[in-house]
Structure formats: C-alpha cells, structure tokens
Symmetry: C2
Subunit: 513 residues, 2 copies
Amino acid sequence: MAKDKGSSFNLKTPKGTKDWSGSDALLRDRIFTTIANVFKRHGGTALDTPVFELREILAGKYGEDSKLIYDLKDQGGEICSLRYDLTVPFARWLAMNSDVRSIKRYHIAKVYRRDQPAINKGRMREFYQCDFDIAGTFDAMVPDAEILRIVSEVFEELGWTGRYTIKLNHRKILDGVFAVCGVPEDKLRPISSAVDKLDKMPWADVRKEMVDQKGLDPEVADRIERYVMNKGSRELLDSLLKDETLNANASAKAGLEEMSLMMDYLEAFGVLDKISFDMSLARGLDYYTGVIYEVVTEGSAGVQADAPEAQKAKKGKAKASEDDDRSNDPTLGVGSVAAGGRYDNLVGMFLPKAQIPCVGISFGVDRIFSITKARIEREQKSNALRNSEVDAYVMAFGGKGFGGMLKERMEICQKLWSAGIKAEFSYKLKPKLPQQFKAAEQGAIPFGIILGEEELAAGKCRIKEMGLPEGHAEKEGVEVEIASLVPELQTRLAKKQEGAVSSLAAQLQGASV
Amino acid sequence: MAKDKGSSFNLKTPKGTKDWSGSDALLRDRIFTTIANVFKRHGGTALDTPVFELREILAGKYGEDSKLIYDLKDQGGEICSLRYDLTVPFARWLAMNSDVRSIKRYHIAKVYRRDQPAINKGRMREFYQCDFDIAGTFDAMVPDAEILRIVSEVFEELGWTGRYTIKLNHRKILDGVFAVCGVPEDKLRPISSAVDKLDKMPWADVRKEMVDQKGLDPEVADRIERYVMNKGSRELLDSLLKDETLNANASAKAGLEEMSLMMDYLEAFGVLDKISFDMSLARGLDYYTGVIYEVVTEGSAGVQADAPEAQKAKKGKAKASEDDDRSNDPTLGVGSVAAGGRYDNLVGMFLPKAQIPCVGISFGVDRIFSITKARIEREQKSNALRNSEVDAYVMAFGGKGFGGMLKERMEICQKLWSAGIKAEFSYKLKPKLPQQFKAAEQGAIPFGIILGEEELAAGKCRIKEMGLPEGHAEKEGVEVEIASLVPELQTRLAKKQEGAVSSLAAQLQGASV
C-alpha cells in the first residue's frame, strides 16, 4: 500500500482512481449518450441519488463485500458511506417514495469499492455503472422482455451486431432442476455457484468441486449435468416442457411457463435470435427471484470452456492470477459486458409495506469502453479517437499589416457558432499559416476556413477540406461568398458525416473483431 | 443536528443532499445538455476527475473554507477528501500532465461542502458545477473574450435573451484605482471585499464599513466612490483612458489597455451589448489576476442597491438572515448565476515548473435550474415539465378474445423503437382502453397509436394526436397503413416540435419573467 513519502508532495490521483481526458473521455461520453438514448426511447426517466448514503442504508445488503465499502470520516452529524452500486439507492428511493407504484428509471453514475485495484485489467475503485430498471406489478414477463429488447438496442447501436449473445435462464427453473436431481436444501446455494462457473471451467472440474469440495452425491452431479450442459432456444424449452419429471416440480413448471411466455415476447420484439437459453447461468447475487441474464461477447470472454488445455495451464497458476480475470465490476461474471435479472424482494428490505417487484439490467461501461477502444485502435479508425469534435478551423492567410485578421477570424467564428457549427481559431494575433494548419490537423478537424485579404475585400473566403490527396480538384479549397459560408459548410459537413463518421454504430458496424 | 434515533431505521438521504427524479431530473438534464453543447461547439474536451482527491492536494487552497471539506475515513492506505470544487482538480491535472501546454476543458460534476444546508434556499452539501476553462499562453484577451461569448451562447440557448447581464471588471484596474485613491497596501484586500458588496448594499453602508470598521481615511473613501460607482460600456472605458491620474499607475494602465482590447473582441463576437463594465465588481476569491466577471439576472438578484428602504429593513435582522441570501455555491456572489475570471498562478501552486495561465467560467446550475423551473411553472408550460419525453403510446382497442393484442402492440413498438421513436405500451395482457388513455395523458405523451382488430386485419391502425379539442377533424385519429406508420408519425412529430416544444430556448424564448 502506497504510503505518504514523508512530507514530499504526492502529485497523483488516489489509488484505484484515474482521470479521464481527451479521446478516452470523448469515446466514453459517446457510449453513455448511446446507452442513455436507448433508455429514453423506452420511456426511462433519470434518477440521480447522492454519491453517499447513510451507512445504515447500505448495511446488510452486500454480505461479505461490505468490507469494500468506503466510509466517510465522522466529522460530527450523520455517519455516511459512498454508494457501492446503484441498485440499493434505487430500492431506498422506492421505499421512500411509496406513492410511486411503477417507474422505469435509469441511472448512469460512479460507484465505489475499496477493492484491490488492477488498473491494467480495468479493475478500479471508482467506476461507472449504467442501470435501467422497471419497478411495478405487471403481467408476467412483459417488462422482462422489454429489458432484453433494450439490451439488444444498446449493443446494436454500439455497432456490435453479430458479436454478442444474451445468455438467459430462470431462477425457478434452476431451483427446480436442483430439486428434481436431488440436491439437498442446504447445498442449493454452493451447488448453484459451482454451476455458474461453467463459463470458465469444464464440466469435469465443476463436478469435482461439487463432489469433492461440497460433498454432493456423484449420482446427483451426473443428473445435474444432463440439464445444465444444455444451451439452445425454443427447441430446448420444448424438450424441457415435455420432461415429466421436471414438470412435476412446481418451481420448474412455473419457470418453464414463464420462459415460454418470454420467448413469445422476445420474438414479437425481434430479439429472439440474440438469445441463448443457457441452463448453466446462475448469477452470483442472492436477490434474484426470476429471469436472469448476462451478455457475453467474444472480445470480453475469458478462457473458453471448449479449450480445456488452455484451461488447465491457467488453473496451475496461483489464485491471484485467477482473480485477475475478474471484471472491473464484480457483479458481472467473467467475460460479460452487461447483466441483470428480476428481483422482487429487495425494496421490502427497507420497508415491507413498500414492497414492489423489479427487473433490471446493468451495463459494464468500463469493459464496453475497453473493447470498443481496442477495436477502434486495431482498425485505426482515427476519426473515432479525436480529442474533440470540432467541425472547422478558421485561419488567416497573410494579413501582415492587419494583425493576422484576428477580428475577421472572430467574426467568422461568431457566424459559425451562431449556426451551431463547432469552430476554433488561433488565439495568436499573427499566427503563421503552417501553425494554423498544424492545429487543424492535430485536432483532426475536417474543414479549414481560410481568410485572405483580397478575397475578404471581395466578400469571399475559402473552404478547404483537410487531408485531400494531391491532385484532388478541391485540394486548394473552394472560394465561397461569406454570405453563403454557413450553408455551404453545413452541406459539406452533412455529406462528410453521411459517408463516414456519424454514430458509433456507423463507425464500428462493419468492423471485424 | 439529526442524530440516529436509537436503533430505528432512518429512511432518508444524508443531510444537505437530495434525490433528483421525474420532471426535475429531466429539466436539469436538458440544462446540462444545452451547456455541454455550447462547450463542445467551442472545442471543449471533457475532463473527468475522481470524486475524491488526496487530502494534501486540497490542503491550503480554500483558506478558511477548508473546514467545509468532507474527509473520507482512514480505512488504511491513503488519506482522501471529497472535492470541494472543480478548479483545484483541474489545476492538479494540469500540473500532472505538464506536456499539455494548452487545453480547453469542461467538467460538469458534483462538488461537496459540509456547509450548513438551507434546502429551501437551494444551499446544498452536494451540488453540481459546470466549468469551462482555457489553459495556455496566448495573446492577451483572446481566450478571455471567447469565454464571455460562451456565457452569452449558454444563456441565449437557455431562453434568457434580454434577461441577463454580464458584469465585467479587471483586477488590475481595481488595484490601480485603490492605489491612486490612496488605500494603504495592508487594507487592499478588506477594502476590495467591501466594494464587492455594492451589489447588495448602498454606497453609504459600504462607506461606513470602510471608514468605521476598516479604518479607512474618509477622503480616500470618497475618492473610491468616484470610480467604483461607475457602470457602463465603451464610453466609461474611454473616459477612464483619458484619466491622467489613473493612467499614471502602471497596473491601472495595463488593465485599461486589456479592457480596451477585450471590448474590441467582444464586439467582433457580437456580445458587447450583453456586457456591463462594472467598476464595483471585485469577486471574492484571491487567485484572480486579470479580468473578472459575474452574470446576473433579474430572477436571481437579491435586494437591489436602489431600494435603500428595503435594504435597511433587511439589515435590521440578525446575521443569519443575511447568510440566507447566499448562493448555494458560495463562490457565486448574491444574485449571480455564473462567475469566473483569469487566474494565472494557481497551477504553479502544485508544480512551479508547470505554471500555465488559465481563464474560466463556472455556471451555477442549481440556481439556473430553480429560475428556469419557476418560470416554466408560472407560465404553465406543462410540456416542459414532463417526466419523460415519450413520443407515442401504443394501445389496443378491444381484442377480448385475443389477449388485448399484446404481441401486436409489442410488434408495433418494435417498429417504432427501430426507427428511433420513443414509445411505450401497457404491460398488462388485457388493458382497458380508458387506462391506456390515462397513461398516455399522465405522461403528456403527444400521440396514441390505436390498434383495433378489424383495422389490423386490413393492415391498418390509427394515429391519434392527444388533447385535440372537441370537433377537431382528427379528434378520433386518422387511419394509416401500418407499413407507412413510421413515416406518418415522424412527419407529425416533426410538425408538432416545430410549432412548440423543441429546445429549451424555443420553449422559454418568448416568455416573460
């Protein structure tokens, strides 16, 4: 642990935190905007809660991980802690506002965990979560299906088409399977958590853990294997609906019926083809009561279950290295970029009379950011990694006796800003032309607006598209009337955006992983 | 101070903090977006710093107010505190990144002060600041003028046209005035802070404070009056430029020359008419070294200096009531909604070799929010205070035998979402028509999409604009082909937005205060 070095001045951010600036901040901001726009399209309303809560609000909600909560110093008055996630503050808000009987809320904000940071792996003490939740009593599976529609819209608009899978399961089915296979009541939780490891361990290892470490009857383990190794879609569900043993269990039957409804609705929403009904998905958190889901992508996946050799090599290492595989956000499983499920009993922990069923999703933005950035860098889509999004750089050519035409440059900028065009100019009285071109190039600004004394006297200036190849007809720019500069530039900007950079999706759509 | 009531459960947010939800959150979000768009138009890049800093970074930066800093508990490791503003973290970042020799950065984030909260007055312990700063060595007054152009764009786009004034002064002019009038060196700071009170106290009271409390020679006070009571524009500057006594002082002369340049540039930027050169503006913070400015608006002003009677009545009260006039954000003066200036020496406090001149502005979003909300409520612009911005509510009429056409409603929603239209539907299998209408009305959703069995069988549905008066030709809605539902609805949405709700400016532009 880094201690203060005597009285020397420590010019750094606290351990496990970092500054976000430049192209990283811009790209992350665009990811936030993309996600928030989807949330709003589905009627989501923003909820913003304080960054700290009374300590007693967080107490008893996170089990063993409570030790990772940041406390504020007691400076007189209330005892507070930094929030650990966005779900508990939402539940606290619902309990406080018990007149609200239904809401779709979203919250994009930082959370805090005094975990051992691993900055290279993206595990931080301060990181963002993007949550969308639907609270209220409704007909079964309708809001649940809309959550998965939201998931698919987010990843489609991030340009991940064809590169993500939504793994889906149901707690009631899982409970039914364990009951039918003969798992004793007291082993339900440990066996469930062993099954959840099937995304990073082969069955043989999971079975070993069940039998050797958790004392499960080997025959029970074999029965479990016949169920949890299944992945599929409707055909898997149909076969389970015909399984008489399973359907004799009330929990399994209820879960399968809900899953059947879910698939109908997912089909109506056009997202059934993104779903994998994965019977091994169990999810860590205790509070889920219905459907559970997790989004995985190739780029985010850990070691594949079908690569046992690599797996074994990995397993030989110390526990520390296994820990390194963990997500920044410990609520996400290995390799997942979003996760969630239905939790019907959490609000009641604050106020039993305010009990209200909820279903939601949390996007792991830091991991989505890392994968997106790596892809952009691999494909050298430099436009996507600019520091700002300036459209035009207004520059002067000549003007020795006139102070580099500073006021003229300012007036042109004013016209552009008033029309909503993003523009910059040199803050020097007499900047040299190469300096101005360099500034425009460094900012990857697409257009230069060039002022010359003679042209200006004739009420004209030049629009020059930056980076055109030698010999291009417009390499030296085109002369336009200053009166029509704004519409001329707008037309060119629109044309440029159409062809190339507009949304993240447009930028990343066709890209190969 | 609210203490824990034994073991009873305290369902609340910490003192001085609040949740933001519903129409308040939406309106505030739109204010943020408006401000951020202006920042980006001027080439601003986002900087996001951690919510807490090493305590030594904040130490010695806030003078007496340091006692208001929130500390984190010592849980082993580094000693940290929540940030008190966004300026010191920016200066720390510049010192850490000394290869960055120029940047335009913006930061919209929460800051924390353990002040006595007065929630009704909008003084909170957790509140937002919106900062834009330009760091770098440039020709005089060029970036300074752009900052004021940014200020005017923000308030124009918030719909405040004609309702705000940018008060402008220069620290060097003020220092020169005090020197020329004969203020002793050791009284400069207290006399400056007395002058700064002229926005809420008449001259007679300020003079009394100078002479009686601060021991200033009455003749010196009278000389000060002749300068600091002046407000104006170019004509004031011109008269000062002819003032030989003042121009004999090096500081005043330099300040006046910079102010002259500033006015030239403000004219080129088209904002000179928003400016009041106000010689009484002094600003509290010590670190300003050049131009200083503050934005005032009628709605935000405290007691006017020209209402001495009201003033006296006020003064009779205890100090506590005077404190109540303070802004949420103590860095803002009474009645101001934004403030800033040039500070050339702050970064050097972290690392002398990284010294870099800066100029910036901070918008007081909580106060801007309160004024904007009050205006909307006064004018009952109900559209502006919706909880969400949903465009269409998809509903079923009839369908008894078909489960309320849930899947059909889902399929229509899917079409709308895929086209980027914000849409909702009832989560009930068989919702009643009045319930669905009520939901659309409560959300102030402009269009209903009505599905009927017969129409659906013919590939049609109805678009109904909500809230049309009795007898309107389209009161019952218009029938459209489902295949052309999306373009039909988009046309209607565009038309509706054109006429009424689009930007905050459009909503609030013509409104009277």
